[in-house]
């Protein structure tokens, strides 16, 4: 195979968070959303590569970065070995003829003030028509333009094309609009199509038709897909290889068959377990991750999944705020609610990096830290094991964590996994 068609190396995309004027004056560091935080993958010619994850994991940001809508903060994007990261206007323009995107919401992706024919003709006007010799030539005649538009319309199955030419997007059904969007993209003869949740907005009974259509286009035009979805079942059917993303990082990547047959990363397992199965005779017990996806402005230390991970180790990256969350959870179950009176209200605890602390106030810090220690002695969880020390310090009780082990991407039975378990 040689060189991959698309090679993404250590891509990072950070977005600034809008802060108040005063907050900016007072400083406190620049807050950024770590939307994509060090992602590497490559796509071979002709394959369907899936990017799977929950909302906010950064998969759509990657899509936008690839088609040049968002500038990467750092990292490289190589198309056929050629670096297209810097992208001056001309390269970007040419790149767009090779990497194109199909939006999730076909209705919104079409300007309501333009007919279908116009929408596609506009692409030809900007990029030229492909001549019979395969060259891109500027459009000079309206007749040729119309012919080209009719060509792509019937190519995507909107027949007869004349019928659709003068229609406005509002007059078409959801599936038809998806086809128009595809036709518009195909007018550019791209090599790679980034499909961002192409069926999420469609009803179940017609979803399959769209997927079949995408596969058929792929065959006919020898396309390569980057298929972005939150739906593991669709990804399993569509993709040759998949990457599972969580909070801006790829946690597991490899051939679909391998990953679905035996998921290695605890997050992948959790995702697969969480899918409801439409078979009432196969109801099952499952272990779900705790809590919700944390804020990408302050991603957790170490492995980002560790605070929710059912298989976490003491070395996964436990830190001060995990202790505060732990106190909150203890308080919620009736057997352990006692903790609140013992070590003070949860709200009083502050977390800062590897440290959680509480000002003792009227209480004696030494007594308090003794209580914390006692409470932790019953705890068997990895969080408790990660605590290095609990001791009084001036007027406060301080809980200190050991630093996490370095996280590396490892090859585990035929796929890449980023997890300390392996």
């Amino acid at each position: 195979m040689g060189e991959p068609l698309l090679d993404v190396r250590d891509l990072r995309v950070y977005f600034p968070v809008f802060k108040g004027f005063v907050q900016r004056l007072l400083g406190g560091g620049e807050a950024v959303v770590h939307a994509v935080d060090g992602v590497s993958f490559s796509i071979e010619e002709g394959e369907v590569f899936g990017l799977v994850g929950e909302s906010g994991c950064g998969k759509s940001t990657i899509a936008k970065t690839l088609v040049g809508l968002v500038r990467p903060t750092s990292g490289k994007i190589l198309f056929r070995g050629e670096d297209v990261t810097g992208m001056d206007r001309q390269t970007l323009f040419r790149l767009r003829e090779r990497i194109q995107m199909v939006h999730q919401d076909a209705h919104a992706a079409l300007s309501p003030a333009m007919t279908i024919g116009e929408a596609i003709a506009d692409v030809f006007r900007a990029h030229g028509i492909i001549s019979e010799a395969g060259e891109r030539v500027p459009v000079h005649s309206d007749v040729l333009l119309r012919k080209a538009v009719r060509g792509v319309l019937s190519d995507v199955g909107l027949r007869p094309p004349e019928f659709f030419y003068d229609k406005y997007p509002d007059e078409l059904s959801g599936g038809q609009k998806q086809r128009v969007v595809a036709a518009r993209v195909l007018a550019l003869r791209p090599r790679i199509i980034v499909a961002d949740e192409p069926v999420a907005m469609l009803d179940m009974s017609i979803r399959a038709r769209m997927l079949e259509f995408l596969l058929e286009l792929k065959e006919r035009h020898k396309l390569t897909y980057l298929f972005i979805t939150h739906d593991l079942a669709t990804a399993k059917f569509m993709c040759d290889r998949i990457a599972i993303m969580y909070l801006g990082r790829i946690v597991e990547m490899g051939p679909s068959d391998t990953i679905y047959a035996d998921p290695k990363h605890p997050y992948t397992r959790a995702l697969l377990q969480a899918i409801p199965i439409p078979d009432p005779e196969r109801r099952r017990e499952r272990v779900l991750p705790r809590g919700e996806v944390p804020n990408a402005v302050w991603p957790p230390l170490g492995c980002r999944f560790h605070p929710r991970c059912p298989a976490a180790l003491a070395t996964c990256g436990w830190e001060g705020r995990d202790f505060v969350t732990f106190l909150e959870e203890r308080w919620l179950s009736p057997e352990t609610a006692q903790a609140e009176t013992d070590i003070g209200p949860v709200e009083r605890w502050q977390a800062d990096g590897l440290v959680a602390s509480r000002e003792a106030g009227d209480a004696d810090p030494a007594v308090l830290s003794e209580r914390v220690r006692k409470m932790l002695s019953d705890e068997r969880g990895p969080m408790a094991q990660a605590i290095e020390s609990v001791h009084p310090e001036a007027d406060s009780v301080v809980v200190r964590f050991q630093p996490p082990d370095a996280l590396e991407v490892k090859t585990v039975s035929g796929r890449l996994v980023e997890c300390l378990l392996y």
Binding site: M204, K236, P276, P280, L288, L332
Partner: protein, 316 residues
């Protein structure tokens, strides 16, 4: 035994500038106390309208006919005040998209207190706060969230709070309208697990409105499949999934994409608009087993098979 809820020829029509939209037509649905009924349908099938029609929450341009019996009482005959008192106390409802369902200008605590005092004005604010804390603990929401505004909370947290508000009066029926559609798959599973736990503890019946067949399979005791305002098929979950009778149910189950899918299937055509009066079976144009009679006369649901499932189709 009288069922907890029973709708009898319930129909809803909306007057719109383009004509009358028949969103729900002649629906007979029964929910027994303590059970879960899944109401499945695609967008525009009228499933959400049905849920709102039960609680009389529809806008003014909706014309509702037929009756809804709850605990043997006809809800349509209730006064506005009695109906209001029933909402939240006897029948509670949670919605899709928890992000927009809480008043953005009011602290969580105040929304709880308001709800409690709406049904029991004698309760002091402080006591109401205590009761709120109790149900919040039931849905595993930390107490400090009480003092926050909705925009400070995550989607999962807000849906938990919505559920907690439903628990305040231990209602006999909970209408859950796509309660997890706006949430990610793990959160969805968490919320469903929570609902299941709470159902048992509070002995609630649930009407689960969803487009997700997987949810229904995992969660519901009985299933009603809705298409174009009609209930196409209704029966116990296990036999219905094992052997669907109605061609639409068959098609819908076949078109689900799950981890075992090897070949794709989709129902030909697209769902009809509900504008104007319809004759015959609404699924007729898309049906692979259609007959001439289907075109002109609507097939009244009749009991079919060993489990005496209600199926609206001439094939049986």
């Amino acid at each position: 035994m009288t069922p907890l809820l029973h709708t009898k020829s319930l129909s809803v029509a909306f007057e719109t500038p383009d004509g009358v939209v028949h969103a729900v037509q002649d629906v007979n649905l029964t929910i027994q106390a303590g059970t879960t009924v899944g109401l499945v349908g695609e967008s525009g099938s009228g499933k959400s309208t049905l849920g709102r029609a039960i609680l009389r929450l529809l806008p003014e341009n909706a014309k509702v006919t037929g009756s809804v019996f709850f605990d043997g009482k006809d809800l349509a005959a209730l006064s506005a005040k009695a109906m209001r008192d029933l909402r939240g106390r006897n029948i509670a409802m949670i919605f899709q998209d928890p992000m927009t369902r809480l008043d953005p200008l009011m602290r969580i605590r105040d929304q709880f207190i308001e709800t409690i005092r709406a049904h029991d004005p004698t309760v002091e604010a402080k006591e109401a706060g205590q009761r709120a804390l109790k149900v919040l603990a039931d849905v595993r929401v930390p107490s400090d969230r009480m003092g926050m505004y909705p925009h400070e909370l995550s989607g999962g947290m807000r849906q938990r709070i919505m559920i907690a508000m439903c628990l305040l009066f231990n209602p006999a029926l909970l209408i859950a309208d796509e309660p997890t559609t706006a949430l990610d798959v793990i959160l969805e599973a968490q919320i469903l697990e929570l609902l299941q736990a709470i159902m048992g503890r509070y002995n609630m019946a649930v009407l689960l409105i969803t487009h997700n067949l997987g949810l229904v399979a995992e969660f519901a005791d009985r299933v009603a499949v809705m298409y174009a305002g009609h209930i196409a098929e209704e029966g116990a979950t296990v036999p219905l999934f094992r052997e669907p009778f109605h061609p639409y149910t068959q098609g819908l189950l076949r078109s689900v994409i799950d981890l075992d899918t090897e070949a794709l299937y989709s129902i030909p055509g697209s769902p009809p608009t509900l504008l104007g009066a319809t004759v015959g079976c609404p699924f007729y144009p898309r049906c692979e087993k259609r007959m001439d009679v289907c075109k002109t006369v609507y097939p009244e649901p009749r009991p079919v098979g060993e489990d005496r499932r209600a199926v609206a189709c001439y094939l049986y």
